[in-house]
């Protein structure tokens, strides 16, 4: 049980086409009976979760993560003049490095987080996956890192088509030829910058695991899933909890190698060719489908919050296999003046009473 005098701040409140973990995170905290204050830290007045009923109590507009840790810190200091924050949970990939860079100073201000160190974070970077796999004997697909379109010729020489073209933080596309690679290279570069990661496409079944590591190589909790409905952009809109001992051991091996502290989501492929597991990606944050964790018997937001405030939690191994989620979006109706107020003043209060 989380004490009601805690104030918890959460990012990532978009729940539309590209859903983020903030909305289900808050819902799961509320499900534990927590009635304390929850603050939404948002980048855009159109993040839909701001206006969802009975969710955040207050929201504050934040500078984008690309502005860096110092800008975020400066904004949080102004927020702290209006409210205390005990726990802060960044939920988006692009936020993690800036927040890691100011973790100590936030702690001095009374704000606790449960994040990996910079070293852990960099070890799992998409552009270093081959290095990580080689060092810890974890199978990964062949990979090339591109910093210029001139290198695309090398890809065609060294790798078989198709390949996956990936951004460092977001987006991945399957390319069938050099033209496709160039097209996706430009598309991702324009949006997220370099480098571009080229990963060998492998046939097989994809699985995902969400877990929280304790920073010493142990897993506090983990839930493996199989996505059963996937959108064009590769987002899971339905998934079921599974139980495969080999997958559990594979996950343990990765988290032991990283000594990961905090939540992560693993993307894993079971190769159709050799039936072995291959690590495709390590996402350094909770996935948007975390509501499933509570459905399966492990409330990850509650566990993460308790870890952030320094509670010791013994590893939780039981979960309900066969639990399914199906994503369901609804429209929220409100007066445009509410969006205007947030845009103009940078903050909204008393949202839960509206």
């Amino acid at each position: 049980m989380i004490k009601n005098d805690l104030v918890i701040a959460v990012t990532g409140l978009n729940a539309g086409e590209n859903p983020q973990p903030g909305v289900p995170f808050i819902r799961l905290l509320r499900r534990t009976g927590f009635s304390g204050k929850i603050i939404g830290l948002v980048y855009d007045a159109y993040e839909s979760g701001i206006y969802a009923p009975d969710l955040a109590d207050e929201v504050y507009l934040m500078p984008y993560p690309s502005a860096g840790g110092e800008s975020i810190l400066a904004r949080l200091k102004t927020v702290l003049q209006k409210t205390k924050i005990d726990v802060l949970v960044p939920t988006l990939d692009s936020e993690l490095l800036p927040y890691i860079s100011i973790e100590e100073r936030l702690r001095e201000l009374g704000i606790r987080m449960y994040l990996p160190t910079r070293e852990m974070f960099m070890m799992r970077d998409k552009s270093r996956l081959s290095e990580f796999g080689k060092k810890y004997k974890i199978p990964v697909p062949d990979e090339m890192i591109l910093s210029s379109t001139k290198q695309i010729e090398d890809v065609a020489e060294k790798m078989d088509m198709p390949v996956m073209v990936k951004g460092r933080f977001y987006e991945a596309y399957q390319a069938e030829n050099e033209e496709d690679i160039e097209k996706y290279f430009e598309k991702i570069n324009n949006k997220w910058g370099l480098p571009i990661i080229i990963q060998q496409f492998m046939k097989g079944e994809e699985y995902n695991v969400v877990a929280i590591g304790d920073g010493k190589g142990n897993i506090t909790c983990q839930i493996p899933i199989k996505k059963v409905v996937v959108t064009e952009k590769g987002k899971g809109f339905a998934a079921v909890v599974i139980n495969d001992l080999k997958l559990t051991h594979f996950t343990q091996k990765i988290i032991r190698a990283l000594k990961w502290r905090g939540p992560l989501e693993l993307e894993i492929l079971k190769s159709a060719e050799d039936q072995k597991y291959y690590l495709l990606e390590i996402n350094p944050r909770l996935p948007a489908w975390i509501a499933l964790t509570a459905g399966a018997g492990q409330n990850f937001p509650e566990i993460l919050t308790r870890l952030a405030i320094g509670e010791k939690i013994k590893p939780i191994t039981k979960y309900k296999v066969g639990t399914l989620f199906i994503r369901h979006n609804e429209d929220i109706i409100l007066d445009i003046g509410t969006v205007g107020k947030l845009t103009a003043t940078g903050t909204l209060h008393n949202l839960r009473r509206n």
Partner: protein, 83 residues
């Protein structure tokens, strides 16, 4: 057919919805399929399964054998049964 771990792990509902907890795959089988899978989960032999079907459904021995064999082929295709 004993020691078939994949079959034993399957969750077989009375509606014929089959869930493989190891892979997350799901399937639908008919009433006879439910009976066959439940008997296989109990490590019953082929003869025992055929006998059960003959006792409970109006069907000839040859037809049961043919259907049983094609059912096993399907299970092998889906990597649910290895022999």
């Amino acid at each position: 057919m004993s020691n078939n771990v994949s079959i034993r792990k399957l969750a077989v509902s009375e509606t014929g919805f089959i869930f493989d907890p190891q892979t997350g795959h799901s399937y639908i089988v008919n009433e006879v399929g439910i009976d066959i899978l439940n008997l296989m989960k109990k490590d019953k032999s082929e003869d025992e399964i055929v006998e059960f079907i003959l006792d409970n459904y109006e069907i000839s021995f040859d037809q049961v054998k043919r259907d049983y064999d094609s059912f096993l082929i399907k299970l092998k295709q889906y990597e649910l049964y290895k022999k």
